[in-house]
């Protein structure tokens, strides 16, 4: 019998084989900068009827965040809670450390499903990020319509996406978006995104594991 201990269980992130570091598209100062958000802890939380309040209190206690009741994202230093549908949220952590334990604690208050491996996430920034997204995103991302902290479930190029705007880049003042797609569609999403960003010049700074 093979010795299970000798087999390496190297995780392979959602962007493995898809993203490559470096610049592409029109040369010069990149209009879009893309960073893989790999290895996140992501879980869907669905509150039961009337149990939102208990869940909200527990979350406040555990991670210091309240449940957003409209499509937006709230963040602490470590965690984020993003609206994901009526009575549904995504709890997001920058890594998986302690994530299972956190989910276990919350389990009595909500239907919880770990989705950490099922999503491929990117952070998009740069002066042309809105122009890039406009080539497929059917939402109005103008600052007046989509302020910092807004989140949305929508589709781009026939792929479901979960999209939100985090704090502006402190250096440039440019808007910064994060976007999650289904892991299985990461390659097709990248095909659309890279084609859309090429005009403005694009830089990939982090590619994730594997």
């Amino acid at each position: 019998m093979a010795d299970a201990a000798t087999i390496a269980w190297t995780p392979r992130g959602s962007w493995a084989g898809i993203l490559a570091s470096g610049e592409f598209g029109t040369a010069g100062q990149p209009g879009v900068t893309i960073e893989a958000r790999d290895g996140l802890g992501i879980a869907s939380l669905i509150a039961g009827d009337g149990r939102d309040e208990a869940l909200a209190q527990a979350l406040q206690g555990h991670i210091g965040l309240g449940l957003p009741l409209t499509p937006c994202i709230v963040s602490s230093a470590r965690h984020s809670l993003v609206w994901a549908g009526p009575d549904q949220w995504h709890l997001i952590a920058p890594d998986r450390n302690g994530f299972d334990e956190l989910l276990r604690d919350l389990a009595p208050l909500a239907a919880i499903s770990d989705q950490s491996d099922g999503r491929a996430a990117l952070r998009l920034s740069g002066p042309k990020v809105r122009d890039t997204l406009a080539k497929g995103c059917m939402l109005d991302l103008h600052p007046s319509a989509f302020p910092v902290g807004t989140a949305a479930l929508t589709s781009i190029a026939y792929m479901g996406v979960h999209l939100w705007r985090i704090a502006d880049d402190p250096a440039s003042g440019d808007a910064v978006f994060e976007i999650m797609v289904a892991r299985s569609m990461a390659g097709s999403f990248w095909s659309w995104l890279s084609a859309s960003a090429a005009e403005f010049g694009c830089k990939v700074t982090a590619t994730g594991r594997g």
């Binding site: 299970a4 087999i7 009575d87 770990d114 497929g136 390659g187």
Partner: protein
């Protein structure tokens, strides 16, 4: 340079004389300037004959200076980039431009099919409906091919379009359509209020008629006013000016379709730039300021090259500094044409005559005529133009019928303007007739859209400025932006809008065209009236009036007027046509954008994809997924060799197959079991925790929707699996059941399909292999983990995993699921652990073979036309509970015993191949529909049985086991005899499954 451009004026115009441009037309080289259109540059070079007409192949020139052009259509570019039917009047000149005339052979100058002109008396409207019927077979063999070859216009490229396209979405408060004086005013008013504004102009240079006419606003040149206004607009942060962008259509709820020609003015699109970009603009309000289109007059020879619209003549003179002719006659039915005469003279042309049918012409105009030395023919009309390939002469007839002929090379025709109201009727509302201006104006508008300036029938410049400012402010105010007080009304030079249109001048010798491009004459309209094709849609469809690429922009009104005259009605009584989108023709590629070739639709890849790829898998599209179909080894040159090996490896040892693509839905809540009871036909409440069960769900109409195994992970927690194909459909159905039908049930569900990588580990050695990857504390023995067990376990030293003892192959089998990040490692770990057992990766083909050997149904059987009974699963239907589809499944036709039901088949002659899609016919009966007894749904070669086997739906099938039936397959010349058998071919007792 100008020596090479004999009709270019020495100065003036909005062209860039510092940027000369070379181009070719029909193989000859010419020069023009940046800022020219192809039409302007051709005229500058004295090229008059530009195309041949559709039916009669008559010589045609340039009629207009805009998108309404019916005649000057060319093939632009060459090779894979050839663009047929390109309007020379809007094609921007670029260095190296190549264009060819079209619809002529062998050459533009000498076109064989111009003999059609001789046949013209027979080729009237609709002549083809009356003949070519005998003998019947000749239509397709002779007549139609001839007609098809003669018809059509330009030649399209057959190669793949090498350029790329993209889409984009934009949002604004106020969309302004048209960049003329009204549009710019509207954009300024809205923009100054702080509203988000998009101004679209189809031209490459905003300004509209202010670029073409010598007008003054507040005592300054119109073009200067435009420049200042554009500068201000550019300074406003939320105003976007989109040139070369045509708004094509108005759709529901403030959505406007537009196409931006990003690179059409360049020899090639720059790297990383599309050729065109299709915009979907969502606007809270929109102002249509698209201007107006000038109308020609119907008279004999009115299609002769050199007959032009008066406004177009001014455009060429003033904007492009081109003389469209040196010896001109002006034919005008209103004051507007007199300005053309003035501008022509100023540009150095000789105006021989001004013909105005109005008996009384304003004395000031007459004085102007005198001043420029033109003969003035008041109360007269041009009855004929002649000259063949270039205008040589016009005939002028006065009220008494006396005719005068004058030599000339240009006839400028002005007959009033039609508001460019096309977009206002895109939602099927009809324009209304305005008697004062003798034109249709917008009727009921699409919600949120208003019309300003000429587009609203307000032809004066001052009116346009006022209109635009007012509607721009109102639109912004509707969006919540307080309008800034309007500046004092601008002062303009006087307008010339008085008009008494003449729709046609009868009696000239020769054809008088209504629709130039489709060669529809006044006689055709008369014929349509005579034959009863009087409703305007009949007129259009019978004569093809208005059906050409210009959608009748210059012809519809004349056609209506002539019909009105024939029927003794007024124009509005005769009707108006509804313009359909798009406003101008749009490249199919633009509206497809990124979605072509491999990017037509997204592709989904399993988390194990790289592993499959590394093994040299052959992949197959299943829905959006790409799955490993089989895994050939070196030397295996036929797919069946590989598949047979894979099947035998599983049956005799162990194999692994990715099943990550199955839909997985996490269902939790106090009523989760109750919910499953209602959506599945079988029972769920009694399912113990830690167990899986096969479930079947119906649609409400009683036919099967989907199947899969669902496991109870905890008292109130289930994991449902669906087929790969139906995953999204089932999720939608469950959400429907929950939210719409039973909102009070406590059930919460979410798709976890993407979270888990799942693999089937199948074969007698499956347990041993798993032992190598599952952490030691988990007992995998048959007792601890029996058939249909569902367990939370760990693998690889603490990685959470789920193990289901379920089997599609009929072997001892498990499905092991790990978080997707570990999917790749899981496959590699299993391969390592299974190496001693000869572990073999297998694909969807082998999976299919084994499920057919086991008589399991799959997509070919779950085709939406089968019932649970048809599939041999009728007994699963609980009689003790209500469930979706229960009642309708009981309808008489669904429970007839005769219904084709699932059985197995094998060839009587054992070497014969079965084919899915073959139909069953009773032995000795003719192969005809009335003897059709069902069909073969799935077939496979069973390497275990060493012959082909099949599943199929056969009338009374289960009662006919052991009998024989024919499988006829006429489309593949198949006709073989089959034995009907139990659908479970391998291990019918299920001993292996429980091993």
């Amino acid at each position: 340079m100008s020596a090479k451009q004999p009709f270019r004026r020495g100065d003036g115009g909005l062209i860039d004389r510092a940027s000369p441009v070379s181009f070719r037309f029909d193989g000859r080289s010419y020069q023009g300037y940046a800022g020219d259109t192809l039409a302007a540059a051709l005229l500058a070079n004295g090229v008059r004959l530009v195309g041949r007409s559709f039916k009669y192949h008559r010589p045609r020139g340039i009629l207009s200076a805009g998108p309404e052009e019916p005649n000057a259509l060319v093939e632009l570019r060459s090779g894979a980039r050839r663009e047929p039917n390109t309007r020379a009047t809007v094609a921007e000149l670029y260095d190296g431009l190549e264009a060819q005339s079209q619809n002529r052979w062998p050459s533009l100058d000498f076109d064989i099919l111009s003999i059609n002109s001789l046949l013209a008396p027979a080729l009237t409207a609709g002549f083809y409906y009356k003949t070519f019927m005998w003998p019947a077979a000749f239509w397709e063999k002779l007549y139609e091919p001839l007609i098809r070859r003669a018809a059509g216009l330009g030649r399209a490229a057959m190669e793949e379009d090498p350029d790329h396209y993209e889409k984009a979405f934009a949002f604004c408060d106020v969309l302004v359509i048209g960049g003329g004086p009204a549009g710019i005013s509207a954009a300024l008013a809205a923009g100054r209020s702080g509203a988000r504004v998009i101004l679209c102009d189809e031209d490459f240079r905003p300004g509209g008629r202010l670029l073409a006419d010598k007008r003054e606003i507040d005592a300054r040149a119109g073009s200067e006013w435009v420049a200042d206004a554009l500068a201000e607009l550019a300074s406003l942060p939320d105003v976007r000016i989109m040139t070369r962008t045509t708004v094509l259509g108005v759709y529901d709820h403030g959505i406007y379709g537009a196409v931006e020609r990003v690179s059409d003015h360049l020899p090639l699109p720059p790297v990383h730039q599309p050729r065109q970009r299709a915009w979907r603009i969502t606007a809270k309000r929109a102002v249509l300021a698209a201007g107006a289109i000038e109308r020609p007059v119907v008279f004999a020879g009115n299609d002769t090259p050199g007959v032009m619209l008066g406004g177009a003549v001014r455009t060429y003179l003033n904007r492009y500094a081109v003389l469209p002719g040196r010896e001109a006659v002006v034919f005008t039915t209103g004051d507007d044409g007199w300005a053309t005469a003035r501008d022509l003279t100023a540009a150095g042309a000789n105006v021989a005559a001004i013909v105005d049918p109005r008996p009384q012409v304003d004395a000031a105009l007459v004085a102007l005529g005198k001043a420029i030395g033109a003969r003035v023919f008041a109360g007269s009309a041009v009855s004929r133009a002649s000259g063949g390939k270039a205008l040589k002469q016009v005939t002028i007839r006065d009220a008494s019928g006396r005719e005068t002929s004058l030599a000339c090379d240009l006839l400028a025709v002005s007959n009033g303007w039609n508001p460019t109201l096309h977009l206002t009727s895109h939602q099927n509302t009809r324009p209304v007739w305005d008697e004062a201006i003798q034109a249709f104006v917008p009727g009921t508008m699409p919600a949120g859209l208003s019309a300003a300036g000429s587009a609203a029938g307000h032809f004066g410049l001052a009116e346009a400025l006022v209109d635009g400012a007012r509607l721009g402010s109102e639109a912004a105010a509707d969006c919540g932006f307080a309008a800034k007080p309007l500046a004092a009304t601008a002062k303009t030079d006087p307008d010339a809008v008085s008009i008494s249109p003449v729709w046609r001048v009868k009696g000239g010798k020769g054809k008088a065209f209504v629709d130039f491009q489709n060669d529809v004459t006044d006689a055709d309209v008369e014929l349509a009236a005579r034959e009863g094709f009087r409703p305007v849609e009949h007129l259009k469809r019978y004569t093809t009036l208005g059906m050409a690429t210009d959608q009748g922009k210059t012809s519809n009104i004349s056609g209506l007027a002539i019909m009105a005259e024939q029927t003794g009605k007024t124009i509005p009584e005769t009707g108006t046509t509804i313009f359909r989108p798009p406003y101008t023709p749009v490249a199919i590629g633009a509206l497809a954008g990124h979605h072509r070739g491999p990017d037509f639709r997204p592709m989904r890849l399993a988390p194990t994809h790289q592993w499959s790829k590394d093994l040299g898998a052959v992949f197959v599209e299943t829905g959006l997924w790409l799955r490993g179909q089989y895994y050939p080894k070196p030397g295996e040159d036929h797919w069946l060799t590989t598949v047979n090996r894979e099947v035998l490896a599983v049956r005799n040892g162990v194999g692994i197959c990715d099943v990550s693509t199955l839909g997985k839905i996490d269902i939790q809540g106090n009523d989760a079991a109750e919910f499953l009871e209602r959506v599945y036909i079988n029972g769920w409440k009694a399912l113990p925790v830690g167990k899986a069960r096969y479930g079947l769900m119906l649609r409400e109409d009683g036919f099967v929707m989907d199947d899969g195994t669902t496991s109870r992970l905890a008292e109130t927690h289930f994991l449902m699996t669906t087929t790969t194909a139906n995953a999204a459909k089932v999720m939608q159905h469950l959400e429907y059941c929950h939210q719409v039908l039973w909102p009070t049930l406590d059930v919460r569900m979410v798709s976890v399909s993407e979270q888990w990588a799942q693999v089937a580990v199948a074969g007698p050695k499956a347990r041993e292999v798993l032992r190598g990857v599952v952490d030691a504390q988990h007992d995998l023995s048959n007792e601890a983990c029996p058939y249909l067990a569902a367990r939370n376990i760990t693998v690889g030293g603490g990685i959470p995993a789920r193990l289901f003892r379920i089997s599609f192959s009929g072997e001892l089998a498990y499905e092991l699921a790990v978080p997707a990040d570990h999917g790749d490692a899981m496959m590699r770990a299993l391969m390592a652990a299974g190496a001693p057992y000869g572990i073999t990766p297998y694909g969807t083909e082998a999976l299919g073979v084994m499920r057919i050997e086991k008589g399991h149904v799959a997509g070919n059987e779950l085709n939406g036309q089968t019932t649970a009974r048809d599939l041999g699963l009728g007994r699963m239907m609980s009689a003790k509970k209500d469930f979706i589809g229960r009642v309708m499944a009981g309808r008489e036709a669904l429970i007839e015993t005769e219904r084709p039901a699932l059985v197995g088949f094998k060839p009587v002659e054992i070497g014969q191949r079965l084919r899915a899609g073959a139909h069953f016919i009773g032995l000795g009966k003719p192969a005809a529909m009335e003897h059709d007894e069902g069909y073969m749904t799935s077939v496979a070669y069973s390497p275990v049985l060493k012959h082909w086997i099949g599943l199929g739906l056969l009338k009374n099938g289960p009662k006919r086991i052991g009998e024989r039936v024919r499988a006829v397959d006429p489309v593949r010349n198949g006709d073989i005899v089959l034995e009907i058998c139990n659908p479970v071919f391998v291990d019918p007792e299920g001993a292996r499954l429980h091993g």
